[in-house]
């Protein structure tokens, strides 16, 4: 799941705070900048403190709006349609083509653009670039790897993670337990209920097999490639063999009821909260098992963007640059500090260098980024819609109602038709 787990403790406070900010804005004349993110009040805490400092220094008021990840794109689009869009939003890179093609995103001024190119890794800048135009400042990087529960594996007699898919299947089968009704109570391997948990896993496995899911010009797919069909067919086997089922999801991993899943590093905070002191002894990270070649995977990125209809564009870019550069004698920028507290990785080179990333959980993710094993998720046209279509076909293979060949062929036809819509 790419859905960041939200602590709810302070949502009421968030609401009160945003009202208070609106009220305060009336008193000042530096203008008000609205910022929307999918991070909640708790997660935003370091940034919110920075907002206050910025207001003190410049007189510009900052209003924070939160929308949950699942609804975020729809919320921005609806706000945009409604003429009520925030000035700045933190968006998932794959949403960018849709937003850029409708003229929603503002281009950064030249000085900001060159600063971005100097301060961020090449792959990350690519994630914020559509058709050669750079649209924002990259923030959180997420990479997919295999998560495994060391204790569950040890109980079943395995002291290390699987290196190939066949091993994964063998270990998962040994761990899976079902009740009298045949419903799985402890799962060897889990997928999840969200789009990301079907589609992103598939993409990550594709890169792992050395095949990009889309052609280089993003106008056709490689869904029907033999490796692709094979990946989906193997997923279907896990369901057919009763090793996993729709009854269990990635939410069961932090509950200790699932032994393995392919997931992204932003789950760190969730895992730390769930396992407490046992975190490092329980959660293991390993490369995605395949057929034994070089391990590849996928990374995706969020980035700060400015709305083209905002009447505070220049002020917004100023604010963003301030938030993404270390201020005073701090090691991390404000954004970097927030990402660090989340256990997330930053695309900002100096932030990444200043983050402690050598713990056993984080190191494999950083290794995948630095070695170039992680390929950036392609910013395709109508990505959210295509992902949904792809998911529905993958689910049919899981359910056994379609063969992997037929499903991927049908998905290819539909997605290709949408990709060919772009001018």
């Amino acid at each position: 799941m790419t859905d960041h787990t939200h602590c709810i403790r302070t949502i009421a406070a968030a609401l009160a705070a945003s009202t208070a900010l609106t009220g305060a804005a009336l008193a000042q004349d530096g203008g008000t900048i609205q910022i929307a993110t999918h991070y909640n009040q708790d997660q935003m805490a370091p940034l919110l403190a920075c907002f206050d400092r910025y207001t003190e220094e410049t007189g510009v008021e900052i209003e924070f709006q939160q929308a949950s990840y699942r609804d975020f794109l729809q919320t921005i689009l609806t706000a945009r349609v409604g003429g009520t869009a925030p000035d700045i939003y933190n968006i998932y890179s794959i949403w960018a083509p849709q937003l850029a093609s409708s003229g929603t995103l503002a281009e950064p001024p030249e000085d900001v653009a060159s600063w971005i190119r100097d301060s961020y890794g090449e792959g990350t800048v690519g994630a914020a670039t559509i058709n050669g135009t750079l649209y924002g400042i990259p923030t959180e990087l997420s990479v997919y790897q295999l998560f495994y529960n060391k204790k569950l594996l040890a109980e079943a007699g395995y002291d290390g993670p699987p290196e190939t898919w066949d091993e994964l299947k063998e270990i998962a089968a040994a761990i899976t337990e079902a009740n009298d009704q045949g419903n799985i109570t402890t799962a060897g391997y889990v997928y999840g209920p969200s789009v990301a948990n079907a589609v992103h896993i598939y993409y990550a496995q594709m890169y792992n097999a050395g095949v990009a899911p889309y052609s280089d010009d993003f106008r056709t797919t490689n869904f029907t490639a033999p490796d692709s069909v094979n990946i989906i067919a193997r997923q279907g086997e896990l369901f057919a063999d009763g090793i996993t089922s729709n009854s269990v999801t990635t939410d069961d991993f932090p509950a200790g009821r699932a032994a393995m899943m392919i997931a992204a590093n932003w789950q760190k905070q969730t895992m730390q909260e769930a396992f407490g002191e046992d975190f490092e002894d329980t959660v293991g990270i390993a490369p995605i098992p395949g057929d034994g070649g070089d391990p590849g995977t996928m990374l995706y990125s969020f980035f700060w963007a400015v709305d083209s209809s905002s009447d505070m564009q220049a002020e917004s870019w100023d604010l963003l640059r301030w938030l993404n550069e270390a201020q005073g004698d701090a090691d991390l920028s404000c954004t970097g500090q927030m990402l660090n507290d989340l256990g997330a990785l930053s695309g900002n080179l100096s932030d990444l260098a200043a983050m402690p990333t050598d713990d056993s959980f984080t190191a494999p993710f950083v290794e995948a980024i630095e070695s170039g094993a992680a390929a950036s998720q392609p910013n395709i046209w109508q990505a959210a819609e295509n992902d949904r279509i792809l998911r529905s076909y993958i689910e049919q293979v899981w359910a056994g109602t379609m063969s992997a060949e037929d499903a991927m062929e049908a998905a290819d036809a539909e997605v290709s038709a949408i990709l060919s819509e772009q001018d």
Binding site: N179, Q181, S245, E385, E395, A413
Partner: protein
Amino acid sequence: MTHDRSPEARAPLTELSDAPRPTLAQRVGSKSVAPWIFIAPMLVFGAIFFILPLLYAGYISLTRWNGFTAPRWVGLGNYDYLLFTDPRFWDTFWNTIYFAAGTILIGVPLALVLAYAFTRAYGQAVWRSIYWLPYITNVVAVAYIWQFLLDDSFGLVNRALDAAGLPGPGWLTDPSIAMTTMILIFVWMQLGHNLLLFSAGLAGIDESYYEAARLDGAGERQLFLDITVPMLKPTLLFVLITNFITGLSYFVLMLVMADVAPQGPIKVTGLYMYEMAFSDQRLGRAAAAAYILFTVVLVVTLVQLRVFRRGGVEAH
């Protein structure tokens, strides 16, 4: 509107007698002007929120539009795409039919049997309140209540089935039964409503028919089949067809359940339309889908009107 007309302008037409000229207030409060004032809010509203939207949606359906850049005229292209190219539209359409038909096939007989027992039972106010609880509960609450009840391994339903030695299906997670689960939940929500409609119809059947049949030695089953069902035909038709139309238009439960259930099987046309419009910003195509579905609802409604006239339901 009526306020604008000056009394002077119309005076020669209306004032031919010796009576003093009516004041503006009297004129506005007169029998000929007052009804227009009474009905004005409805007419204004009807123009802005009924007629205009229908025309506007018709126009949108002939364009390609994302909601903020200029719409592009595509003629009947959206209809053509949905009906003849889109592989998904017909899937959602048959899902819709399956849902609507399922709700009446399961819901109506249940409501009928319960209403029959209900009209002959003591404590009607209590029974009624109980059966109405789901109907007055918001759909978000209904969805979450059932998500917990139907959890595959630990929900109350499967635990109860397990205790009885029965298998526990994946009510919401198994693609082959997820839609049937939607039907069952919807029936649960609507049961009290249909029960009340039937009980009103049953109350209209003269008790003397039953007495006569009892004297002839008829049992309860015969009474139900020989007297109740035929006498209840108008109500039965009304309930069947209004339920079917409601079923065709319904999608909120599926929208709220979409987080936990598999994507394809529970996607009805209404939900497909909503996603097209508000997730994928394909407003033209969504408006066309809405019009196609509406055409189906309209045809069913017109059939309903004919059937009702023959079936003896007045005023419809």
